[in-house]
Symmetry: C2
Subunit: 358 residues, 2 copies
DNA sequence: ACGATTTAGTAACACGATTTAGTAAAACCA
DNA sequence: TGGTTTTACTAAATCGTGTTACTAAATCGT
């Protein structure tokens, strides 16, 4: 007798997350309310080919009941059945910087458009956390992995897209900046302003772009006949992205030698710290020393002085990364060979670089 | 005859995401490899009470086989069965600012610690996106929702924790700053420096803190006998968090009147824009006008001049929010009444405020 | 009028894990 | 020796969908 008691639909008629709704209604509940089978309801709600033979009147009743009971298909059950989670995993160094946030905003925009969600996990450049988080994401059945400034060491059975990654691994797609051009733009700009002695603050070893950034800069410098002496090269100090990394690096640089007339910083955030250090040591920026940043994060434009910088299209890199990952997910992983997408930098001239005075 | 063919364990012996592994191994595969039932394997791997009666030798074999085959329980299947997803949804205005990123880093730290993952969805303060994203998160079976600077309008059958939210809704827990004290610290500091005429840049209507921030500031001003005239109150202009919002607001402010000696900005990011506007109009900061920010984002310390600001413990607010959400998830939602957690601000004195000169 | 097709559905299984309710054999007890 | 308890497991049901394979009735074609 109490057979139906528990399946009795609650009389919810307000918003979808109304307080009256205690338990989510299932396909079975909808079916029961219409005295149809769950199969029929499923077939109709999914516009399956099978529903061709269901009369419109029945379909209408089903749609109406589903709406009235506020039926929402349970994504978990659907994922299990379809072996599709519409979820990807995103690996980032940390959740605290202009860089990651900018890329993520592009990722999110594209993913939500396509009905995907994402898990984020940050690893602080620790090898063990990268491995552990990858495991977790795989266990959660993500359909692919997007690695942002995160080294990838081995091929995976899942599609992987790496943003700013430079490892060439089978099956991994890289989204990278045209570093040659970025370096050309930066050095050319300084050269045109008369700078011939340039200091460089390179990134930490763990940053994917560190090596290529330095090498392309050195190459461009040779081409323009600009000098970058070894003792004008310094490295960011510290693990977390903060202006302090550039501040400490520049302090060290200044204790070596001060013959240079311009500084190429690894990124905007460290350029800001570098300016502080230069100022503390009695150098006006840009009067005494010009400085050029990298990335063009929001803070760059409004810093004092406003930063001249090489812009990376961070948001676009994020959405491109997401786009290609989704594409690769559609394909058979076996025939997804590694390929590379290149995006172009821009030189943004502001106030931190001027003609050399010496 | 081909009965076992497809269940034949792949001879994977490398890393967990080795290329050799095509298909995830299931409980059934492990069981088959040992000629045991999935039940037994499950019981042992989960340290279920039932496993008391299983001899150690069998347990060892099971653990070993699971490790060798690199068995990872399928989270989707487990979630369906247990009706627990260990996943929460996080609503944020956007993924681009120091504020959200700082709070999220606290959220993430706490969640990963507890074995939870999270979905992020941003809504750009659009009512329809808040509703839609909430729907999506519910369909994805999140166990609770963490709303960061996001208005919540109705009670839900899911636990909700709101960070910097001020709506008092049954079942919603609020994590808020001690705004009274924040205002007291800010006004007291300016008062001590001799400022008696203070301009205020208030937040946009859509920011949760806008109203309470302004009101507590006005109240503190009255207590200290400091004047905040109506035409010294301006509002951030624009939707996305960027220094430009404060720049435009301050431009408008300066076109009204310039009698004030200090500016209270809604947040650090707009304070940075305000400084630019003041400077363009011929005011030196802090010589002519002092300015005080709010939040203490990373950029504040290294700005030029370094920003005096009221620090919100953003990361802590994130981890507290996550902590209370997880607590409320354990409880019966019915007996989770709304309550409020208050965190304390700090005054961080740097270079953007000095004694009044006039 | 009779076989073939169309209509309108449904029963049963699968996805991969956990849990409930057993069972068959061994050990224990009196 | 006969009954109870313990040991060492396993079959079957379940979570909520989606799909495959079926059926029973109605309609069609000739």
């Amino acid at each position: 007798m109490p057979k139906k008691d528990k399946n009795k639909a609650p009389e919810s008629n307000g918003s979808s997350i109304d307080s009256a709704q205690q338990k989510n209604v299932s396909l079975k509940d909808v079916a029961a309310s219409l005295k149809l089978s769950p199969t029929t309801v499923s077939v109709v709600l999914n516009y399956s080919p099978l529903s061709d033979s269901i009369p419109q009147e029945t379909k209408d009743r089903i749609f109406e009941a589903a709406r009235n009971l506020n039926y929402r298909p349970n994504y978990i059950a659907r994922s299990l059945r379809n072996q599709r989670t519409h979820t990807i995993g995103v690996l980032i160094p940390e959740m605290s910087e202009g860089y990651s946030a900018a890329v993520l905003s592009g990722v999110e925009e594209k993913l939500l458009q396509e009905g995907y969600f994402y898990f984020v996990a940050s690893h602080h450049h620790r090898e063990d956390l990268i491995e552990r988080n990858t495991q977790f994401l795989v266990a959660r059945c993500v359909e692919g992995i997007l690695a942002i400034d995160t080294p990838i060491h081995h091929q995976s059975f899942l599609p992987i897209v790496s943003i700013s990654g430079h490892d060439h691994i089978r099956g991994v797609t890289n989204i990278v900046l045209n570093h040659e051009r970025a370096a050309h733009l930066a050095i050319e700009h300084l050269h045109r302003l008369g700078h011939r002695k340039i200091a460089v603050i390179k990134g930490q070893e763990f940053s994917s772009d560190t090596e290529v950034r330095l090498e392309t800069m050195l190459k461009a410098a040779r081409e323009f006949g600009v000098s970058i002496q070894d003792n004008w090269i310094t490295q960011l100090i510290g693990d977390d992205p903060s202006p302090e990394t550039g501040y400490l690096a520049t302090k060290k640089l200044l204790s070596n030698d001060t013959e240079f007339t311009a500084v190429l910083a690894f990124n905007d955030i460290s350029a800001i710290g570098a300016i502080r250090a230069l100022r503390e040591n009695g150098f006006e920026v840009p009067k005494d020393v010009s400085i050029i940043g990298f990335d063009d994060i929001t803070a760059a434009e409004f810093h004092n002085p406003a930063l001249t910088t090489i812009r990376q299209p961070l948001k676009k890199m994020g959405s491109l990364g997401a786009e290609h990952l989704l594409q690769n997910i559609q394909k058979n992983p076996a025939d997804t060979l590694s390929y590379e997408i290149t995006v172009e930098p821009d030189l943004i001239i502001r106030q931190s670089t001027v003609e050399v005075s010496k």
